[in-house]
């Protein structure tokens, strides 16, 4: 009967709610983990940036091969960072859209775009569209460490030096807040020498306090530091995306839980109405039967 169907549906929605609620809590725990990882990485990244901008300001203009733009770029690599799993709202879709938009723009400029994917969702999308991809790193965002960033860094630097790639971009989600994660496209190669002209750097230079002894020379140090800076940027992208993923999933699951509540309310109302209707019908039957007997 209809009454029984409604009852079953209410139970079903209740169970779904339990799952979404659990997922919400799991994500919030994971988000805390991801955020503390970002926190712990920050001192390293900040110091690194400081050192690099200081070095770059000292190095003569001829600089390093990684800094030189290619006169006629033909191939560009896009590192697309997505999550491995879904159920996080528009998170992955937004990232993939951003990457594809970049690929289209590059195509319009006559560049061939190739994808390097971290995370299953992005890889699946790229594969479905038949866009070439270089190398996929399967376990992706579920468990990554600095080593993974190093590997990606080494791969793109190797390909860049071998002129298999002329430009490299990173598409990732910047973690702004719980409610906001923005897909960001970051140009990695050729590297732009970071300006030392941020407030602190400029102040330091004016009073000439940054007069270091370099060991080995500035150029050699720069050659050491640049590839690692790339790794730092990639790692930061991975960390941010991971935090964003959990935040996005939290929000999505929160919405789902609320929707479950709403559906339960509607269904309960329907259930009561249906029950009331059937009682009324039965009453009419009984009254009618009693009347007939008289």
């Amino acid at each position: 009967m209809a009454l029984k169907d409604v009852k079953m549906k209410i139970v079903g929605v209740g169970k779904t709610k339990q799952i979404t609620k659990a997922m919400n809590m799991v994500s919030s725990a994971k988000l805390r983990g991801a955020q503390s990882r970002i926190e712990r990485f920050r001192p390293y990244a900040d110091k690194f940036q400081e050192m690099l901008s200081d070095l770059a300001s000292k190095a003569s203009g001829n600089a390093h091969p990684l800094l030189a733009p290619r006169p006629e770029p033909k191939k560009c690599g896009i590192i697309l960072v997505t999550s491995d799993r879904g159920l996080c709202g528009g998170f992955n879709v937004n990232l993939i859209q951003a990457a594809l938009k970049l690929a289209r723009e590059k195509k319009a400029q006559g560049l061939e775009a190739r994808f390097i994917c971290v995370g299953k969702k992005g890889r699946d999308a790229v594969r479905k569209l038949g866009l070439e991809y270089d190398r996929h790193l399967l376990d992706g965002l579920n468990s990554f460490d600095f080593q993974l960033a190093c590997q990606i860094g080494e791969t793109v630097i190797g390909d860049f030096k071998a002129e298999k790639l002329d430009e490299v971009y990173l598409v990732y989600a910047r973690f702004v807040s719980l409610a906001r994660q923005v897909p960001i496209t970051l140009g990695l190669l050729p590297m732009k020498a970071p300006e030392a002209a941020d407030a602190t750097g400029a102040a330091g230079e004016e009073d000439g306090s940054l007069d270091y002894t370099y060991e080995p020379g500035v150029e050699e140090l720069l050659a050491e530091i640049l590839p690692r800076y790339l790794t730092v940027q990639i790692y930061r992208g991975l960390l941010d995306t991971s935090a964003s993923e959990h935040a996005a999933r939290m929000t999505a699951m929160d919405n789902a839980t609320r929707n479950c509540d709403e559906i339960t309310r509607t269904l309960t109302l329907l259930y009561n109405k249906t029950r009331q209707a059937s009682i009324t019908t039965e009453l009419i039957d009984i009254v009618a039967g009693a009347d007939a007997l008289n």
Partner: protein, 136 residues
Amino acid sequence: MEKALQLDIVTPDKVVFSDQVQYVGARGVEGEFGVLPGHFQLLAALDIGCLRYTNLEGDKKCAFVGGGFAEVLDDKVTILAESSELAEDIDQARAMQARERAEKRLEHRTEEIDADRAQAALHRAITRIGVYSEIH
């Protein structure tokens, strides 16, 4: 109190060490160097090796550093390392395993195996074990 150095060892995953010390000795790519309070400003690339320091109580300690950079500025020594552990935190069993793995890789060389990488891994493992055995 005597002048002291502030030593910070920072890796991507955490701040490994942050405290006042008397002396820091590190292994740069061009050789070992020592830093005492009042050292000139220096920026150096570090090799895989052992970082020695003497804490304020005068105890000599060491830590493993897996390559990176060192900055000396106003009696502050900052070590930026891709990996680093204090000697007492080194997991010897893991380092042993890593050494075996790397040795095996180097023995059975194939196309896919990056020899440089295995060599570096071996070097790191051996250094780790060396640092570990120094205090045990």
